[in-house]
């Protein structure tokens, strides 16, 4: 497997090796030339003012400072050709189906473990595995209804999956708002209809949630979005999605359980709830079933869920499928459950739980990216080539103390996309997160969230670590 584009340089999304602009970027190249970098920078302030007025903000845990910070937005879109998207679309849908099949399997007969493909201890001794879910039948056998798959590109035909997010992947509101703002500011760019629209995502999400209504639901299912509240960093997104789906945004205190049913408190008295798109972690949804110290949860919710009185999206315990140690087995899951060849590759990964892998990782830590198995959001990781000897040594000690908690991957040369600088455009590393919806059908809007590392040379695209976002275009065959 080649991880590099061949010449030691990262893959350039806009230009080929000869410096010629790729077909799909021609329109944007003309637009940059017409406006000039200075002109686009002036429009940038306008974009930021719109973001702030609308209130699209993002809080960073543990950093203090501005509780409602803006994620930096880069005006220059990231573009996929129709042909590239056809491959991605197949690969993403395939992966989402396999992950759900795996979840159903590990909470039932565990055929994949019996077949000796996934080691039993990796599942059953994993903190993300929820024994309470064993034998529970969930509507449509869907556990992860919104699968966010982080994809990086290292060459013309080389797309690789960096990680899966099966619980509650965030960021889809940026996909929608970035497009909205680009259309508002530069309507001319979209006039020819060449960019596939993404604005039906909320309708598709609602349809997906309705399709997984619980057996106890008769008639039109009542869907709600459950948020921890306005202090949560993704609160804007919670309210935005509820709004566009036309459903209630509820906090745990708005709900209560009675007679095997979940109710919400309304001015007309209690109203039955059928499907909960919850943006609260498993640990906090029900203090009776999970963390007793949780102030967030709804006592009795899990009991109602197990009896088929309400659907939770995602299902409790879905995190076992996006665990970084399980990740290595996803290509094999695709073959095992679907009988298909994986369309998208994994990034090669060393599991430190394996003694040989661990020895290799400790020897090569300075070249690798090491991550905590349960970490997310770019926290708790080590980028070998960008770390000091002391940092590497300290991280090595952490790995030795608890090898099964770590994995490592090669330092990927992420592709670069042109990004607006003060005086010129410059290539910055990007990744991509599409949002695949799984109900009775698998749905994928043509787009996603492109995250960009705004600092030159930086490989960390997480918004919590100084990354920004771009509008992501999928071009249509015209």
């Amino acid at each position: 497997m080649s991880l590099e584009s061949g010449n030691g340089m990262p893959f350039d999304e806009m230009c080929d090796d000869t410096g010629a602009v790729r077909e799909c970027y021609r329109g944007v190249e003309r637009w940059i030339a017409d406006n000039g970098v200075a002109g686009l920078n002036r429009r940038m302030e306008e974009a930021e003012a719109i973001f702030r007025r609308i209130g699209i903000t993002f809080a960073v845990y543990g950093e203090g400072g501005d509780p409602e910070r803006l994620i930096p937005f880069d005006l220059i879109p990231r573009i996929f050709s129709a042909a590239e998207w056809r491959v991605l679309e197949r690969g993403i849908g395939q992966r989402a189906r396999a992950l759900n099949a795996f979840l159903h399997d590990v909470y039932h007969r565990a055929e994949i473990i019996r077949a000796g493909i996934v080691p039993a201890e990796l599942v059953y001794r994993n903190a993300a595995f929820l024994p309470d879910m064993v034998g529970v039948d969930v509507p449509g056998r869907v556990y992860s209804h919104i699968v966010g798959i982080d994809i990086v590109r290292t060459g013309p035909d080389s797309f690789q999956v960096l990680e899966d997010n099966c619980r509650t992947p965030s960021g889809v509101s940026y996909m929608l708002e970035n497009r909205e703002i680009m259309q508002r500011m530069f309507p001319g760019l979209f006039a020819d209809g060449g960019v596939a629209p993404v604005d039906d995502y909320p309708a598709k999400l609602r349809q997906t949630l309705i399709e997984v209504a619980p057996p106890a639901c008769k008639g039109e299912p009542v869907v709600v979005v459950l948020t921890p509240g306005p202090l949560n960093s993704a609160y804007y997104e919670h309210s935005y999605l509820a709004d566009l789906m036309g459903v209630e945004l509820v906090e745990p205190a708005d709900l209560f359980v009675d007679a095997d049913t979940v109710w919400m408190r309304t001015t007309r008295g209690p109203k039955r709830v059928d499907v909960i798109y919850r943006r609260i972690d498993d640990d906090y949804i029900d203090p009776l079933a999970f963390r007793p110290d949780s102030m967030l949860g709804l006592p009795g919710l899990f009991h109602v869920y197990r009896r088929g009185g309400v659907t939770l999206a995602s299902a409790p315990g879905a995190g076992i499928a996006d665990d970084k140690a399980i990740y290595c087995f996803v290509p094999k899951m695709i073959e095992f459950y679907l009988g298909e060849r994986p369309v998208l590759e994994n990034v090669p990964t060393w599991r430190c739980a394996d003694p040989d892998d661990c020895a290799y990782v400790l020897d090569h830590l300075g070249e690798l990216v090491a991550k905590e198995v349960h970490g997310s959001g770019g926290y708790g990781m080590l980028i070998g080539p960008q770390s000091t000897q002391a940092e590497i040594a300290a991280y090595a000690n952490r790995i030795r103390a608890n090898p099964s908690e770590f994995i490592a991957q090669p330092t990927l040369d992420l592709s670069t996309a042109p990004t607006l600088g003060p005086t010129t455009t410059a290539g910055r590393h990007v990744d991509f997160r599409p949002y695949c919806l799984v109900g009775k059908n698998v749905r994928l809007v043509p787009g996603g969230l492109t995250r960009v590392a705004l600092v030159e040379g930086s490989l960390v695209v997480n918004s919590s670590q100084g990354g920004g976002v771009k509008d992501s275009w999928v071009l249509r065959d015209l």
Binding site: R53, P230, S239, Y240, E248, T267
Partner: protein
């Protein structure tokens, strides 16, 4: 709708009204402090009393304009300050983001951190600008509600909150005028008294409206009639109570249920309607205002109970 959403909409509207009311009070304080022979400490102390925060200055302290600006514009701990009111209006709005139109949200969100950057010297220097800015925020918000919001039960709760806060402010102004402002040596209807009544009308944007209704006779009992019982002046007690009654009536229909708050609002309307002209003033304005404030607060509690806030 969710009970919490009803609660948030109700308080969002109250805090917006409160921010505007506080800015009007500051205008009134400035005018009165400029009157010939004004005892400054009385003027600003009375302003703080209307705003319900007199206890934040010492009992015998000399209250200055600086104190008033600090407490009523900038103080984060004072629920009546403009900064707190706008911040809480926005926090309530953010918690019911899905019930607001984009324009309503933008009117709450636009410039919400402006006051954080002000110190007392800035705020005093730019007070006229800050007052205009606050009134513009409230006006933009009401405009967005008026032309964009669905006339559903959320709108009813919002308008009830606004009307309760307006009624409250009118009553407090009346009370302070009658019992705090006028030194004992002065005669009701005398020169200073005349100016002070003028200031009260000004603070409620009611001077021209009063002249339209009563034709230039600035008599204390007429002004009281106007502020308490007039049916077409939108800041009069009777108008606010009628508005509360109208929206409670709508909620009664849409929810198909009547509650204690429906009885209370009808009782209040009837009392206001049947009182003889001038009777309130003669029987004792202070007693009347105290009773009416109690009724309004009781109404507010009964609404919360009826709709499970």
């Amino acid at each position: 709708m969710l009970s919490r959403s009803a609660d948030n909409l109700f308080w969002m509207a109250r805090y917006i009204e409160r921010a505007e009311a506080t800015s009007r009070l500051l205008v009134m304080g400035q005018r009165m402090a400029l009157l010939p022979g004004a005892h400054h400490r009385d003027e600003w102390r009375s302003v703080l009393r209307v705003a319900g925060c007199e206890h934040r200055v010492g009992e015998h302290a000399l209250v200055s304009e600086a104190d008033a600006v600090r407490l009523l514009v900038l103080d984060e701990d004072n629920p009546a300050s403009i900064r707190t009111s706008l911040g809480r209006a926005r926090a309530n709005g953010r918690a019911v983001r899905t019930q607001l139109t984009q324009d309503m949200w933008e009117s709450l969100n636009d410039g919400w951190r402006l006051l954080e950057s002000y110190d007392l010297a800035d705020a005093r220097r730019e007070l006229p600008h800050l007052i205009d800015w606050t009134k513009a925020r409230a006006a933009t918000f009401r405009g967005a509600v008026s032309t964009g919001m669905l006339r559903n039960d959320g709108h009813d709760f919002l308008r009830i909150g606004g009307a309760i806060e307006r009624a409250n402010m009118t009553l407090r102004l009346l009370d302070v005028k009658y019992h705090v402002l006028l030194p004992e040596t002065e005669v009701v209807g005398g020169g200073r008294d005349h100016y002070q009544w003028n200031s009260v009308l000004d603070a409620l944007s009611g001077k021209r409206a009063f002249h339209h209704v009563y034709g230039g006779q600035l008599r204390p009992w007429l002004i009281t009639e106007f502020l308490v019982r007039d049916h077409i002046f939108p800041r009069s007690l009777a108008f606010c109570v009628a508005q509360i009654g109208y929206h409670l009536g709508r909620l009664g229909t849409t929810h198909d249920a009547r509650h204690a708050c429906h009885e209370t609002v009808e009782m209040m309307l009837e009392q206001l309607d049947t009182a003889a002209e001038g009777a309130i003033f003669e029987a004792g304005l202070h007693e009347f205002v105290g009773g009416a404030l109690n009724d309004i607060n009781r109404l507010s509690r009964e609404i919360a109970a009826a709709y499970h806030f």
